[in-house]
C-alpha cells in the first residue's frame, strides 16, 4: 500500500497557505474558502488514513519514504501507526473547527490564515514522521508561527503591578501580548535546544548513519547515556506539554492568543510535547524511561493538582481554561509514566479527549468574549438566559473536564487512574483523583458564575447565540466529546495496538501485555 495520502495530509494546509498568500487581501471570502478547503482535505485524508489502518496488522502503515539528505541519513519518511491515526484525526478536527471559529477575524486576516495553516502542516507532520530529524523539523514549524500569531492577533491582559518586583512589570510589559509571545517562544526554544542535543546523541551513538525512528528504537544505547539523555527529551518536549515547572508560558500564552490559536495550541500543540516524550523519549530510551518514570510521574501528579488549584483561584475565563489544560496535560503525563497498557491507552486517549474539550472551551470563550468584551467572570452572570446554546456546550465541556461518565474525559481519566493503580506507584492515583475532584469545583463554579443565576446585567448588549459558521466548531467538537464518551472503542481500537507495540519496546523483557477487556 503505497499511496501519497500522508504527504497530501501534511502538504494540503501548506499548499492552501500558498494559495491564501496569493489571494488579494480584499477577497475576504476567498481567503477563508481556501483555508477551509485545505483543512477539509487534511481532515478527510486523516479520516481515510485511520479507516484504512489495519489494526490486526499493527505497526507502520502507508509508509512513504523520500530521501532528503541521504548522505546524512535524513529521510522524509512518513507513516501512520496506532497512535498517529487518532491524533491525525484530532488535528484535522481542530483545524477544521479552528478555521470556522476564526471566520470573523478582522485584522490582517490573510496573514492569520497563512500562519494558522502553516502551523497545522507542522503538527500533521510531527504525527506521521518516522525520522527523528524530520520530526524535529515539523515540531519547530508547529511551534514558531505561534510567536507571530500571539504577538499580532493576541489580546493583552494587564496585570496590576504589585510586590517588591514592581519594576519587572514595566521592564517586560507583563501581561502584554508581546510579552506572552516572547515568553512562549523563548521557553519553547530552550526546550528545542535540549531536544537538539538529545537528537545529536541518539543519532551519533546509533552509528551516525540514519535518523530513522525504527532503527534508533532498535538501537541499544548504554544505560548511562539513556539516563543522561532521557531528561533532555522529557523536559525539552515536556516544556511544550506544560510539565511543571516549565508550564509558565502556557497560561500567559493561551490567555493572550486569539481563539483559533488557543484552540490549536491547547488542543493539539501541547499534545505534540506529550507525544514527543512518549514516542521519542520513552520508546527510544527505554532504560532511561524506566529510571526516570518515578520522577516523571511525581511531577505529573504535581501538574494535576497544581494546575487544578491554580485554575480555582483565577477570575479570568481564559486563565481558568489555560490552567485546566496544565492540569489535564498532567493526566497525560501521569498515564505515560505508569508504563502500563491501560495508562498509555489512557494517555493517548486523553490527548484526543482533552484536545477536543479544550478546543470546544476556547471556541466558546472566544464567542463569549466577542460578545461580552470581557473575560472577567465575576462581572458575568445569567448568560444562559440569552445564549442557551453556548451555555449548554460550555456545560458539556465542563462535565467532560471533570470526568463525568458518558463523556470522553471519563474514559481517559479512568484508564489513567487504572494504569496508575496497576503500576508500581499506585499512590499516583490519589493526586489524580483529587485533581479531578478539584476540577469539578472550579469548572462548576465557573459555569454557575457565568451562565446561571440572575439574567445578564445591563452592561452587556450584544449577547446572542452563535451565528452561521460559528455553530460549526461547537457542534463538531461537542459531538466528538459525547461520541467518544459513549463509544471509546472508536479510537481506542487504534490506540491500543500502538500502545502495546511501543510498550513492548519499553518493558524489556517483554512482559505479557494483557489487552483491555
Amino acid at each position: 500500500m503505497n499511496s501519497h495520502l500522508l504527504s497530501i495530509i501534511v502538504a494540503a494546509p501548506a499548499i492552501a497557505a500558498l494559495f491564501v498568500m496569493l489571494t488579494p487581501q480584499t477577497a475576504k471570502l476567498a481567503i477563508r474558502v481556501w483555508s477551509l478547503i485545505g483543512a477539509t482535505i487534511s481532515f478527510a485524508g486523516s479520516l481515510v488514513a485511520i479507516r484504512s489502518y489495519d489494526t490486526a496488522l499493527g505497526g507502520l502503515q502507508r509508509v512513504e519514504d523520500y530521501p532528503l539528505v541521504p548522505s546524512m541519513g535524513v529521510h522524509l519518511k512518513l507513516a501512520v501507526d496506532g497512535w498517529g491515526g487518532p491524533l491525525l484525526v484530532l488535528t484535522g478536527v481542530i483545524l477544521f473547527a479552528g478555521v470556522l471559529a476564526s471566520w470573523t477575524v478582522k485584522t490582517r486576516d490573510r496573514e492569520f490564515f497563512v500562519l494558522l495553516l502553516v502551523l497545522t502542516a507542522g503538527v500533521f507532520g510531527v504525527f506521521v514522521s518516522q525520522d527523528l530529524l524530520v520530526f524535529f523539523l515539523f515540531y519547530e514549524i508547529a511551534v514558531l508561527p505561534m510567536y507571530v500569531l500571539i504577538g499580532i492577533w493576541g489580546s493583552s491582559h494587564k496585570v496590576p503591578p504589585k510586590g517588591p518586583f514592581k519594576f519587572v512589570w514595566k521592564l517586560f510589559d507583563i501581561g502584554g501580548k508581546q510579552y506572552a509571545a516572547m515568553k512562549l517562544t523563548l521557553m519553547l526554544l530552550v526546550g528545542s535546544a535540549a531536544i537538539m542535543a538529545a537528537l545529536f546523541v541518539m543519532y551519533l551513538k546509533a552509528g551516525g548513519t540514519t535518523f530513522d525512528l525504527g532503527v534508533l528504537g532498535a538501537t541499544k544505547y548504554d544505560r548511562q547515556t539513556q539516563i543522561v539523555v532521557f531528561p533532555l527529551v522529557w523536559l525539552g518536549f515536556g516544556t511544550l506539554a506544560g510539565v511543571f515547572p516549565f508550564h509558565t508560558w502556557s497560561p500567559d500564552g493561551h490567555a493572550s492568543a486569539p481563539t483559533a490559536v488557543s484552540m490549536l495550541h491547547a488542543g493539539v500543540l501541547m499534545k505534540l510535547g506529550a507525544f514527543g516524550v512518549m514516542r521519542i523519549g520513552m520508546v527510544i530510551l527505554p532504560e532511561g524511561a524506566r529510571f526516570w518514570v518515578p520522577v516523571v510521574g511525581a511531577v505529573a501528579a504535581i501538574n494535576v493538582l497544581y494546575g487544578a488549584f491554580a485554575a480555582m483561584s483565577q477570575t479570568d475565563l481564559k486563565y481558568i481554561i489555560a490552567y485546566s489544560s496544565v492540569s489535564h496535560m498532567g493526566i497525560v503525563m501521569l498515564g505515560a509514566a505508569t508504563l502500563t497498557p491501560a495508562g498509555w491507552n489512557g494517555a493517548v486517549f486523553q490527548m484526543v479527549a482533552h484536545g477536543i474539550m479544550t478546543g470546544l472551551f476556547f471556541a466558546l470563550v472566544g464567542l463569549v468574549y466577542e460578545r461580552a468584551h470581557t473575560r472577567a467572570i465575576l462581572k458575568m452572570g445569567g448568560f444562559a438566559n440569552v445564549m442557551p446554546a453556548v451555555a449548554a456546550f460550555f456545560t458539556l465541556g465542563c462535565l467532560s473536564s471533570l470526568g463525568l461518565p458518558g463523556t470522553a474525559g471519563f474514559v481517559s481519566e479512568f484508564m489513567v487512574f487504572l494504569g496508575a493503580w496497576k503500576s508500581g506507584h499506585y499512590l499516583w492515583a490519589i493526586p489524580g483523583v483529587l485533581g479531578a475532584f478539584v476540577t469539578a469545583i472550579y469548572v462548576l463554579r465557573a459555569t454557575r458564575t457565568i451562565f446561571w443565576g440572575e439574567g445578564p446585567s445591563h452592561d452587556f448588549h450584544e449577547l446572542s447565540d452563535p451565528k452561521k459558521t460559528e455553530w460549526g466548531a461547537l457542534v463538531i467538537l461537542g459531538a466528538g466529546l459525547v461520541i467518544l464518551g459513549f463509544w471509546p472503542r472508536l479510537i481506542l481500537d487504534y490506540i491500543e495496538p500502538g500502545s502495546v507495540e511501543h510498550l513492548g519496546k519499553v518493558l524489556a523483557p517483554v512482559a505479557t501485555l494483557a489487552r483491555l477487556p
Partner: protein
C-alpha cells in the same frame, strides 16, 4: 599552458578588471547635471555571471606555480561562492554607487574586482607566501571601498546620516587590518623559520617547536581579524555602520568566507597533524565569538551594528564546525558559509532598501514593513529566520550541520554552549521581526528598490528558501569539497570516538 588553464579563473577576473578599467576610461565624461548610466557596473555584473557559468562549464584541476597553487574541487566550490557574492553585491550596489558617486563609478567596480582576484586565488593557494599576497590583495581594496563614499552626496532619504562615518569606517578597517596583517606576517615568519618551509604540504613534517606554536597563534589571531572573530571584532560594527550598506552586504560575507578558507588551508590541511596545538585556542575563540557576538547584539539599536555582532556570532558557529577538524566538519563549514552568504547579503540589502525609503537604520525603519511592502517583509522574515536557524530555511541546516559535525568530533561542550547562545540570539532576530510585522508607527513611504536590487534580494530569497527545502545537492557538493582538502575520515570513526569517551 597547463598552468594557465589551472589559473584561468583568477586571470579571467583580472582581465575583467582591465576591461572595466578601459571602458571606464573610454567613456565620454558626463555632462554637468547629467546622471551617468552605470555602464561599468552592468559590465561587471555580466562579466561575473559569465565567469560563474564558466566555472560550471570548465573545471580544470591540477597544480601551478611549482605547487604553490592547486585547483581542486575545494577551490572551485569556494570560487563559485566568491563569484556569487561578488555578483549579488554588485547587483545590490549598482544603484547605490550610481547615486552616491555618479562621477567616479568605475573605481568602485575596479576595487571590487581586485578584491575578487585575491579571493579567487586564496582557496587554491598552497604556499604561505601566495596566501599572504592573495590575502592582502583581497583586503586592501576593501579598505578603499569602505571609505569610498567619504563626503560625497548622501543618497536620497538617508540625509540624517552625519558625514564622515564612511571615512571612519574605512580608517578603522584599515588600522585593524594593517595591524593584523603585521601580526599574521610575524606569525608566519616564526612558523616558516621554525618549520623550514613555506609549502603547506610540507609544513607538518617537522614537529612544532614552542616558537612555531607561538607563530601559529599569531597567524590565527591575524586571520581572525578578517572574519571578525572575537578579540579582533571591534571593527565589525563600526565599519558596518559607517560604510555604504550594499558594500557592507558584500563585506559581511565574501571576505569572511575567504578568511575561513585560509584558516582551513593552513590549519586543517597544513597542520592537521598538530591539531593538539591549535585546537584549544580555536575552540576558545569559537566560544568567545558566539558569546560576545550574541550578547552584544542584544542591546544594539542600529540594525547594522546588530547584524554586525550577529555576524561575529555566526562566525563563531563556523569556527565550531572548523573545530571538528575533519573533512566532514569542513564540508559542513562550507555549507554554512554558502547559506550565510545568501542570508546575510539578503538581510543587508533589505536593510539598505528600507533605509533608502527614509527610515534610517533603527528598529523604526522596519515599522509596518509588512504593510508597506509585503514581499520585502517576507524576504526579511526568511533571512532572519535563516540567521536564527529555524527549520526549512537554509540557516537551520547550516547550524544543525556544523553542530552535528562538532559533536561527532567530540566537541560536546562547544556545541552545547553554541545551542544555548543560539537561542539567546533568537531574541534579537525576533525583535527585528516584531518591528516589521507587529508595529506600524509613523508614516514611512513604501520602499521602492531599484530593479537590480530587487533582483539581488529575490535571488537571495530563492536560495535561502529553495536550498532550505531541498538541501541535498548542496550538502553533497560541500561534503565533496571538504573531502578534497582534508582526507575523509573512515565511516563511523566520529561515532566511535564518541562512544569511547
Amino acid at each position: 599552458m597547463k598552468e594557465l588553464q589551472v589559473l584561468w579563473l583568477p586571470l579571467a577576473v583580472v582581465a575583467l578588471a582591465v576591461v572595466a578599467l578601459l571602458v571606464d576610461l573610454m567613456l565620454p565624461p558626463p555632462r554637468a547635471k547629467q546622471q551617468p548610466a552605470p555602464i561599468v557596473g552592468w559590465l561587471v555584473v555580466f562579466g561575473l555571471v559569465s565567469l560563474l557559468v564558466g566555472t560550471f562549464v570548465y573545471e580544470p584541476t591540477g597544480t601551478a606555480m611549482h605547487g604553490a597553487y592547486r585547483q581542486s574541487y575545494f577551490a572551485t566550490y569556494l570560487q563559485r561562492l566568491f563569484l556569487a557574492a561578488g555578483l549579488l553585491g554588485a547587483l545590490g550596489g549598482l544603484d547605490d554607487v550610481q547615486k552616491r558617486t555618479p562621477r567616479r563609478q568605475g573605481e568602485f567596480w575596479l576595487m571590487l574586482l581586485s578584491s575578487l582576484v585575491g579571493m579567487t586565488i586564496l582557496p587554491g593557494a598552497r604556499d604561505l607566501l601566495l596566501i599572504i599576497v592573495a590575502f592582502e590583495l583581497m583586503g586592501i581594496p576593501l579598505y578603499i571601498m569602505a571609505a569610498y563614499s567619504k563626503t560625497d552626496a548622501q543618497p536620497t532619504g538617508a540625509g540624517r546620516e552625519p558625514k564622515g562615518y564612511a571615512a571612519e569606517a574605512g580608517f578603522k578597517l584599515y588600522l585593524v587590518g594593517a595591524t593584523s596583517s603585521a601580526i599574521t606576517l610575524f606569525g608566519l615568519a616564526l612558523l616558516t623559520g621554525m618549520q623550514g618551509t613555506t609549502k603547506l604540504d610540507l609544513l607538518s613534517q617537522a614537529p612544532l617547536t614552542p616558537l612555531a606554536a607561538l607563530g601559529l597563534v599569531f597567524v590565527l589571531g591575524g586571520l581572525g581579524y578578517k572574519i571578525g572573530m572575537v578579540p579582533f571584532h571591534m571593527w565589525v560594527p563600526d565599519t558596518y555602520q559607517g560604510a555604504s550598506t550594499p558594500f557592507v552586504a558584500f563585506l559581511s560575507v565574501a571576505p569572511k568566507a575567504a578568511g575561513m578558507s585560509v584558516l582551513a588551508s593552513i590549519f586543517l590541511f597544513g597542520l592537521g597533524a598538530q591539531k593538539d596545538v591549535w585546537l584549544p585556542p580555536l575552540a576558545i575563540i569559537a566560544f568567545l565569538s558566539m558569546g560576545v557576538g550574541n550578547l552584544l547584539a542584544l542591546p544594539q539599536t542600529d540594525l547594522r551594528r546588530m547584524l554586525g555582532y550577529s555576524g561575529v556570532a555566526q562566525m563563531g558557529y563556523v569556527l565550531v564546525g572548523l573545530a571538528a577538524s575533519d573533512a566532514y566538519g569542513l564540508g559542513m563549514v562550507l555549507f554554512f558559509l554558502t547559506g550565510y552568504l545568501f542570508t546575510n547579503l539578503g538581510a543587508f540589502l533589505v536593510l539598505h532598501t528600507t533605509a533608502e525609503a527614509g527610515g534610517g537604520y533603527g528598529f523604526e525603519s522596519m515599522s509596518g514593513l509588512s504593510r508597506r511592502s509585503p514581499p520585502l517583509a517576507l524576504a526579511m522574515l526568511m533571512f532572519l529566520l535563516s540567521l536564527a536557524g529555524i527549520p526549512f530555511v537554509i540557516g537551520f541546516w547550516a547550524k544543525l550541520y556544523v553542530f552535528l559535525a562538532a559533536w561527532r568530533a567530540g566537541q560536546v561542550a562547544l556545541v552545547v554552549s553554541g545551542i544555548v547562545l543560539a537561542v539567546i540570539g533568537l531574541f534579537y532576530y525576533l525583535r527585528i521581526l516584531r518591528a516589521a510585522y507587529m508595529t506600524d508607527e509613523g508614516d514611512l513611504p513604501t520602499p521602492k528598490p531599484a530593479p537590480a536590487l530587487q533582483l539581488a534580494i529575490g535571488l537571495c530569497f530563492l536560495a535561502v528558501v529553495g536550498l532550505g527545502l531541498w538541501p541535498r545537492g548542496l550538502v553533497e557538493a560541500s561534503t565533496r569539497a571538504g573531502a578534497e582538502l582534508v582526507a575523509p575520515v573512515q565511516a563511523g570513526q566520529g561515532a566511535g570516538h564518541l562512544t569511547r569517551r
